[in-house]
């Protein structure tokens, strides 16, 4: 059934403002004025930009994933580089952006792992500390890189954030199962008239954090070495309700983008 309706109306209002200025054709005097004005404006803008650095403390609450937990006891180690992660984005013509992500990192992983596994134990940050024998899997997430694109750089109306995590997966005796690289992405519209940049950066980062969690949930069964520790009766796609996941490729030498697998 196709329903169509249309209307044509004459309605314009003046609640938004957008000015475009064409260059003058013959105005050398005016040009000098404009040049002077431009120099002054640039100087003032530089001073203003220097004083307008955006500092974003990423904050959000993260839900537990809706899934049947894997029958595993996971030990999670949060290194200081993750809990205190901070990124400074510098630009010559835009205000500096400082993103403090440490607390949000831990909040996201806590909610995620508490929902993913039958039991989660937080380990100390010391990698040499003994791990309780009851633990099946040790996870040590690190945030290798954060990239941000502002509307001024990307030419879009969004702030965009990429997060590149590495999840080191190992057995409780320290045997490495593999390094699992997880890339996440988030975007958020900038505020109207370019205002609200901090909110947009926070929003884009939170979406990227949720994307990381979604990626970990949906691809966990194919993470490096995980198949070797999952109970034989656990068919990941039915038990955990996850999407069919891409098979992790063994990392080649110097490969910094793929997944690395070391199995014993």
């Amino acid at each position: 059934m196709l329903i169509r309706s249309g209307s044509r109306k004459c309605a314009m209002d003046s609640t938004e403002t957008n000015y475009k200025f064409a260059p003058g054709e013959d105005a050398s005097h005016l040009n000098r004025v404009v040049q002077c004005f431009g120099f002054c404006a640039t100087s003032i803008a530089a001073l203003v930009l220097a004083g307008c650095a955006k500092s974003v403390q990423v904050e959000s609450s993260f839900p537990k994933p809706l899934m049947q937990p894997y029958p595993l006891v996971a030990g999670v180690r949060y290194p200081a580089s993750l809990t205190g992660f901070s990124h400074t984005e510098e630009s010559t013509n835009e205000p500096e952006i400082v993103i403090n992500l440490g607390t949000a990192n831990v909040d996201m992983f806590r909610a995620l792992f508490n929902g993913m596994f039958a039991e989660t134990v937080e380990l100390g940050s010391d990698p040499n500390a003994p791990v309780p024998a009851s633990i099946d899997l040790v996870i040590e997430p690190t945030l290798a890189d954060l990239e941000i694109a502002s509307p001024g750089k990307s030419g879009t109306e969004q702030y965009t954030v990429w997060l590149n995590y590495n999840l080191r997966l190992s057995r409780p005796d320290g045997t490495l199962l593999g390094d699992w690289k997880v890339t996440a992405y988030g975007q958020r519209d900038q505020g109207s008239m370019g205002m609200g940049g901090e909110d947009a950066v926070n929003g884009a980062t939170v979406i990227a954090l949720r994307d990381a969690a979604a990626s970990i949930v949906s691809e966990f069964s194919a993470a490096p070495g995980i198949a070797s520790i999952l109970p034989a009766a656990t068919a990941p796609d039915s038990a955990a309700g996850t999407l069919p996941a891409a098979v992790a490729e063994p990392a080649a030498a110097g490969d910094d983008t793929g997944n690395g697998t070391i199995e014993d």
Partner: protein
């Protein structure tokens, strides 16, 4: 002299105001019977960027607000709460790309219960954007010790084009779609004082889509 010029500017602006137009076109295609129970609600979300160009946050908020008003108002469940309740199955990476994949999502542990607990019957996915084109004319402004002035005329077109796909969670199927396209021309005439006349195509598209969604879902 200045008063005269201002008067001329005002007259010109008024003339252009009267001639400025927006054209809107709204279509809906229904693939299944629809209807909403007294306690049932819908949720309005932007499409995944893996599937289509998601509508702007402001557009989603506008449609959500307008769908909940008027004589045919709908009960709209908060989008963020719904995404959290079904996390992570409505994230851009994991959300079903098409209605045919809905059963796979609904079969996941806990998903059906979470939806039933909230009485959400339909998910409305909105994609699209408002774009500017055909920039013409220009303004020249000058300032001096005694004041400033602008002269010229600039105009451009705005096109707001959005599509809402409606998924029926009870039937695990596509219920249909609503599309809206609004064209408009904005202009700034300036005779000493620039007077902007902006065609608010996005606001018109929002109201048109919200109204059509109300009609579509009511059945």
């Amino acid at each position: 002299m200045r008063i005269t010029a201002t008067k001329v500017s005002a007259c010109l602006a008024a003339t252009i105001f009267l001639n400025g137009c927006m054209t809107s076109r709204i279509e809906s295609t229904k693939d299944a019977a629809t209807g909403l129970g007294t306690n049932e609600s819908i949720v309005i979300l932007s499409s995944s960027y893996h599937v289509a160009k998601p509508a702007e946050d402001a557009f989603i908020e506008c449609v959500t607000e307008n769908a909940q008003s008027g004589s045919k108002k709908l009960r709209v469940y908060p989008a963020a709460e719904f995404r959290d309740a079904l996390f992570p199955w409505l994230e851009p990476r994991t959300v079903p790309a098409k209605a045919a994949n809905l059963p796979e999502m609904l079969d996941r542990p806990g998903v059906q219960d979470a939806i039933k607990a909230r009485n959400v019957r339909y998910i409305v996915w909105i994609q699209g954007a408002t774009e500017e084109s055909n920039n013409n004319g220009g303004l020249a402004c000058a300032a001096g010790p005694t004041g400033g002035a602008c002269f010229g005329l600039a105009w451009w077109d705005n096109l707001s084009s959005y599509e809402a796909a409606i998924w029926d969670l009870a039937g695990a199927a596509d219920a249909g779609k609503v599309t809206t396209n609004v064209n408009g021309t904005s202009m700034i005439p300036a005779l000493i004082v620039p007077v902007p006349f902006i065609a608010r195509t996005r606001a018109a598209a929002c109201k048109g889509m919200a109204s059509q969604l109300q009609t579509f879902i009511a059945g």
